[in-house]
């Protein structure tokens, strides 16, 4: 699975995710990626793309939960994404990338690794696996 989330300097947000699915999956199996609110979600607070074990991410409606925690509990992007990764999806099953309208970035995961990269206007950037 691959994904990208972006916010411009006016706070406009977008998310995109694409995948081949799971190795050896059954023909016709749908994962989290194309299900709005599971593997992909964006509103005026944040944009989220998830990857990992689709069935677990769907059950947790992971991407929408990040936005909902920000919207209804007032959590920051980082707190909301960390909560979903640590409390809502079983260990070893999910990685999330997300940006907020105020330009925050977070990339938590509860798997061994996640191929990831990010950059912000203030000049910081990161490329990582583990």
């Amino acid at each position: 699975t691959v994904g990208c989330v972006a916010v411009d300097s006016e706070g406009n947000l977008a998310a995109a995710t694409s995948t081949g699915g799971l190795v050896n999956k059954m023909v016709g199996r749908i994962g989290d990626t194309p299900i709005i609110g599971s593997g992909t979600y964006a509103n005026n607070l944040c944009a989220v793309s998830a990857t990992g074990k689709g069935e677990a991410i769907i059950r947790a409606t992971a991407a929408r939960d990040v936005a909902a925690l920000m919207e209804y509990k007032g959590l920051s992007l980082e707190e909301a994404a960390a909560y979903v990764v640590e409390k809502c999806v079983p260990k070893g099953n999910v990685g999330i990338i997300a940006v907020s309208a105020t330009g925050e970035v977070t990339m938590p995961f509860n798997t061994t690794g996640m191929f990831r990269a990010c950059a912000t206007e203030d000049g910081s950037s990161e490329v990582g696996i583990w």
Partner: protein, 186 residues
């Protein structure tokens, strides 16, 4: 706080022992795609354009499980899926079960912008792709020796588990890390 961007190439059981020859091309691809996204944001492209652009690049890279590098179903076929969403309007588009579309993410955006629907799948999505004139390739374009090998290993792993009759814990699926160091998760 200004613009920001993040991208991923998948999460899973990526072993710390990932050989350098498998690690470097992936890290280089992440850096390259990040640069593409940052340049587009600096050029005041919309976030929607930026995320589509970056995911297209990642789909075209055979090292990640999407587009060119898609993994295979248990029948040895390719079924790709993608989704795009705009935060301001909550407009969104998604496709599933496409096998001959070079960039599923661009087709998902066309579903969002050219149809009254959100999600098209399988034959309908393929027909819509032909109608829209998006780039289509033969399904064999996606079926590479490497992915055939990965499917074979995944099947063998399952067979080995059955032979050992070890109960597979329901809540912690046995994510087998196969010889080539690639995780089998999405």
């Amino acid at each position: 706080m200004g613009w920001a961007i993040a991208l991923h190439g998948g999460a899973g059981d990526i072993p710390l022992s990932l050989p350098l020859e498998r690690r470097e091309p992936r890290e280089a691809a992440l850096r390259y795609c990040l640069e593409i996204g940052v340049s587009a944001l600096k050029a005041n492209r919309s976030p929607l354009d930026v995320v589509e652009l970056v995911v297209c690049e990642l789909e075209n890279n055979p090292h990640f499980n999407a587009g060119r590098g898609s993994v295979l179903t248990n029948k040895g076929t390719v079924e790709m899926e993608a989704c795009i969403m705009d935060g301001n309007t909550k407009n969104c588009g998604a496709v599933s079960g496409v096998s001959t579309v070079a960039n599923a993410i661009s087709l998902a955006r066309l579903v969002m912008e050219k149809t009254p629907h959100i999600y098209l799948a399988f034959d309908g999505a393929e027909a819509f792709a032909r109608e829209q004139g998006v780039k289509m390739v033969d399904e064999n374009h996606f079926i590479t020796p490497e992915n055939i090998e990965r499917l074979k290993q995944a099947k063998e792993a399952n067979r080995v588990q059955i032979d050992y009759t070890q109960p597979i814990q329901k809540d912690s699926p046995d994510e087998t890390v196969l010889a080539n160091g690639d995780s089998q998760l999405g």
